[in-house]
């Protein structure tokens, strides 16, 4: 059952939220030791919340659009009633004194917060192997990664351990795990959803978005969270369209751009096959397919892996053991307290990116690296601006490969960074992107189709994605091995 289907049944009082949450926790008990999607869970609190919702409905109240629906939240978003660890030892016991804006939205709409999901430490990674508390496993194959950094959120939805989940996407961290776990994942336009309460990794790239079983659920969740928040000065004051309604409207005549650079070396042939088949479905629906070029695509990874670590080196400077989080033992002076706390509290990938960012911003290197990367960012944005003059959307694979094995890309950081090749330019440009399931490899691993649209065109993006979903039935085609 999808989140929307459940919400309707709960509102109609055909099913109780309490029963739903009880069943869910039974399933979580069985699957959590195998999948490790969650870092924290609270069955009692969830049941209490579910009972409140059922009682409110019995009284004839309207407890919200998501009333009684179990939702999981990536552990880099602040929640007052759960720890918020960012999968790091440096925040292992941190309890935020406030809720993130998106968490407030979920609560206001009556959702039942089930727990916090696993991620790569501070959202830095593409496999969830960088979590300080152990990886999450792909529900489709226990020896494979779920993708990252929102691996826990993607796996939770794929394994029916939550009906809906929230993730964050800085270089592909919602879309790539969605593709690898066979679920829907949407990164909204930069500025569409408030980042207040999202632990900052790269402030000009980060966005929160939904991971869900289908496009309707993703639209539904986006509608509940999008909109102005004065506490995030990068959040635009723009009306929120009724995304669910917009997604169900008939598909307009479409011009789909297929960028040649996204179908070259390094793309797994089975992934290519399924993505091209998906694009053909649109052709049958009357869309015009146009070959386009995004000429600076090849430079996206380099630009991103300068810009993001630079911003991260600044954002992570606050973790110093002074006010919250881990503090090293026996510190004798303030500077060594900072330096030892951070060396002991941060994992290797986080340290690597802080060093990379600090180096790229340092005197003598700033122009060659950071400034250069910001200029290349402008060129990448222009490629999209030009492409959207003659197309309504762009389609390509989400990930160059299906889920790879644990340990396969951890020896060399660069090989892991190259996993992001098709998602990264979306964040640099600030445009929205969605990954939807479009098939399985012969080995039974999910494949994702990625669709991109211009800024603030989530309504169109969701409508395009929904049209494919109506024509195909990947959600019901198979069940993950873990279930």
């Amino acid at each position: 059952m999808t989140g929307l289907e459940l919400a309707e049944k709960i509102r109609a009082r055909e099913v109780s939220s309490r029963e739903t949450v009880e069943d869910l926790f039974e399933r979580i008990e069985r699957t959590q030791p195998k999948v490790h999607a969650y870092l924290s869970l609270d069955r009692d609190a969830a049941l209490e919340r579910a009972e409140d919702v059922d009682a409110a409905l019995a009284r004839g109240d309207s407890p919200g659009r998501l009333a009684g629906v179990p939702v999981a939240v990536k552990d880099n978003m602040c929640t007052v009633d759960f720890p918020t660890t960012c999968a790091s030892r440096i925040l292992e016991n941190f309890r935020p004194p406030y809720d993130a804006h998106v968490v407030e939205c979920l609560r206001r709409e009556g959702a039942v917060l089930v727990g916090k999901t696993n991620l790569d430490e501070f959202a830095m990674g593409s496999s969830t192997e960088n979590s300080a508390f152990g990886p999450t496993l792909n529900p489709w194959a226990a020896d494979r990664i779920p993708g990252g950094s929102s691996g826990g959120s993607a796996a939770a939805v794929a394994a029916d351990m939550a009906h809906l989940s929230l993730g964050s996407d800085t270089g592909g961290s919602i879309r790539q795990p969605a593709a690898l776990c066979g679920v829907v994942g949407l990164k909204p336009t930069y500025g569409r959803v408030s980042r207040y309460g999202l632990v900052a990794f790269a402030s000009s790239l980060d966005q929160i978005g939904p991971l869900a079983k289908d496009v309707r659920d993703a639209a539904f969740l986006l509608e509940a969270m999008a909109g102005h928040d004065p506490r995030d000065s990068t959040c635009e004051n723009r009306p929120v369209e009724p995304y669910l309604e917009e997604a169900e409207k008939p598909l307009e005549a479409l011009r789909i751009g297929v960028p040649k650079e996204f179908f070259g070396d390094g793309l797994d042939p089975e992934v290519e096959k399924h993505v091209r088949e998906a694009i053909r479905v649109y052709e049958k629906l009357g869309a015009t397919i146009l070959d386009i070029s995004l000429p600076h695509s090849d430079y996206g990874i380099a630009a991103y892996y300068i810009v993001a670590p630079c911003e991260a080196s600044s954002n992570l400077a606050r973790y110093d053991g002074a006010h919250y989080g881990f503090r090293c033992d026996n510190a004798t002076d303030i500077v060594s307290m900072f330096s030892r706390t951070r060396a002991e509290g941060f994992g290797a990938e986080v340290q690597r990116r802080i060093l990379l960012g600090t180096f790229s911003l340092s005197s003598g290197y700033y122009d060659a690296y950071y400034l250069k990367a910001m200029k290349v960012r402008r060129l990448i944005k222009r490629d999209f601006d030009e492409a959207f003059e003659k197309t309504d959307c762009i389609m390509c694979p989400t990930s160059p490969v299906p889920a790879f094995k644990l340990g396969e890309r951890t020896a060399n950081p660069l090989t892991m960074y190259l996993s992001d090749v098709y998602t990264i330019s979306t964040n640099l440009a600030g445009i929205p992107g969605i990954s939807i399931p479009c098939g399985f490899t012969d080995a039974g691993l999910p494949v994702g189709l990625q669709i991109l649209a211009n800024a603030f065109q989530e309504a169109r993006l969701l409508r395009i994605a929904r049209a494919y979903e109506r024509e195909t039935n990947w959600r019901r085609a198979r069940r993950p091995a873990i279930l």
């Binding site: 941190f94 309890r95 406030y98 500025g191 110093d320 510190a331 060396a343 944005k381």
Partner: protein
């Protein structure tokens, strides 16, 4: 670009990361490889391209300078590793 252990030591000092020698050596190797990869950006002529720091059009988002309640002291101290007299306590700052 090749990085020496000394280069990494300097950057680690700027980043307030006290890393053991073995880590510094490993980082020098790995970061060197990543920096080599960044060289490809030099293939692009960006002479007359303006830097893009941010995707949005927003700038100078201000509010009225009206005082309002902020985080209560207890909440602010809630996760303090060490506290005294309503403040965060840390090792000596001034020699």
């Amino acid at each position: 670009m090749a990085l020496t252990k000394k280069d990494v030591e300097w950057v680690a000092h700027l980043s307030r990361l006290e890393l053991p020698d073995a880590t510094l050596e490993k980082m020098a190797e790995q970061l060197g490889e990543v920096l080599d990869y960044f060289d490809k950006l030099n293939e692009l002529d960006t002479g007359d391209v303006s830097a893009m720091s941010h995707p949005g059009a927003l700038k100078n988002v201000f509010r009225e300078d009206e005082p309002r309640d902020s985080l209560p002291r207890d909440a602010a101290l809630g996760n303090a590793p060490d506290r005294a007299d309503g403040c965060f306590r840390v090792p000596r700052v001034i020699e």
